[in-house]
Amino acid sequence: MSALHPFSLLAIAAALPAFAWILPAPTGGLATAGLALMLPLVPDPRWGVRVVRLALLTAAPFWLFLRLLHDGPTTVAIGGRITTMVASFVWLVAVLSPDRLVEAMVARGWSLAVAYVFAATLSAVPVLKARARRIVEAQRCRGLSPRGSVANRLRALRALALPLVLSALHEVDERTLALETRGLGAGVPRTPLAAPPDRPAERVARWALLLLCLAALIWRLA
């Protein structure tokens, strides 16, 4: 499944929740949830079971809170839709490689700005999260106490957040210099090194999914 073009994977993950919300509840939502939970099992059931388990664990709290707030039929109606959304995205994250997506975007002629921003964000988040944890530990070593009254905690929050945000902002200068050095300011389109193949059948299938969604929407509104 991960051999599919990244745009095809995105189209499937977007179409299933769209159908879940368009088709009448609860049948529509439950059917799409079933489909979304079946998706990971298609190529390799052993790998797929882990993905399905993660999807079910992510969706479970929503069912719990829905039951807390709503009656049975409403819980099933909304729960089916939310499960479809959760299962589709958990599957997408498991099969879609960000590098392949960026290559596909560049090959399709998307702005390099979009490709850079997307890839740089995915790499920057874990780096900054690790730095945040180090700052918390360092400030604790210096005697910072993040407990007590709300005012005390807010002061502690300031002492933890400021170094993180200021150091991140200083990094912007370094990144700017690195990007300009690599010629990103020139606006010249980049040549993708390994663009994922986009087969005609996949392109047709993506258009078919879009048309099906539109048809279902018109049918529901009519």
Binding site: W110, A113, V117, A124, L128, R133, L160, A168, V188
Partner: protein, 208 residues
């Protein structure tokens, strides 16, 4: 005008000059990472805050609403990879960026006395915006905390939509005030020379 420029961000750029400066482009991923990394600091102090719009507000105060909207949309996209229910709330991030842009142009980050009430105002607007999404799409079950405060609202006798607003309001009101105060503190702590490299930073703190 702003929406037209966001369109340029997302569409293939023809050969020639870039629609945004490289510095502002470099700011976007850093600001998104700030929004997501601050959860570690929040966990350490054990306060019921999200601070997930910090990057959006900070980027807007530094570089204007176009960059802020890009940061907000990307924050929602990355959050969606962790929890898919974040995506429909991308609208809230866009509204936060537009509101923060107005606040920055009015110089409302000049002190905590102006930043905190402005953040409280955003808390009301954000909860008004997120309530219909939360109610009609998710039945008010987006996060555990909001679901529990919604249940509390129902127990207090509020109608379903009112209880949903109560849940969103409780989570957003204080959170946005703290976020605005934090961004004001960051802008004032930035060296003037660094702040001057961004188009809106000095105006946001009332220095120009």
């Amino acid at each position: 005008m702003s929406l037209a420029r966001v369109y340029i961000y997302l569409w293939p750029v023809p050969h020639g000059s870039w629609p945004v400066s490289v510095r502002l482009l470099a700011l976007i991923p850093v600001a998104v990472a700030i929004s997501l990394a601050l959860s570690a600091a929040v966990d350490a102090v054990a306060l019921p805050l999200f601070l997930d719009t910090t990057g959006t507000i900070l980027a807007t105060a530094l570089a204007g609403p176009v960059v802020g909207i890009a940061v907000g949309v990307l924050t929602s996209a990355v959050n969606t990879l962790r929890n898919p229910t974040f995506w429909p709330f991308v609208v809230v991030q866009v509204i936060v960026a537009l509101y923060a842009g107005l606040a920055a142009r009015a110089g409302l980050f000049r002190s905590l006395k102006t930043a905190v009430p402005t953040g409280l105002g955003l808390g009301v607007i954000a909860s008004l915006t997120s309530t219909p999404i939360s109610y009609f799409v998710f039945g008010c079950t987006t996060t555990g905390g909001i679901a529990l405060t919604t249940a509390l609202g129902r127990a207090l006798g509020l109608p379903p939509l009112g209880a949903c607003f109560f849940g969103s309001f409780v989570s957003d009101f204080g959170d946005k005030a703290v976020t605005f105060a934090l961004v004001a503190a960051v802008l004032h702590a930035l060296p003037r020379r660094t702040a001057a490299r961004f188009p809106l930073a000095l105006r946001a703190i009332g220095a120009t």
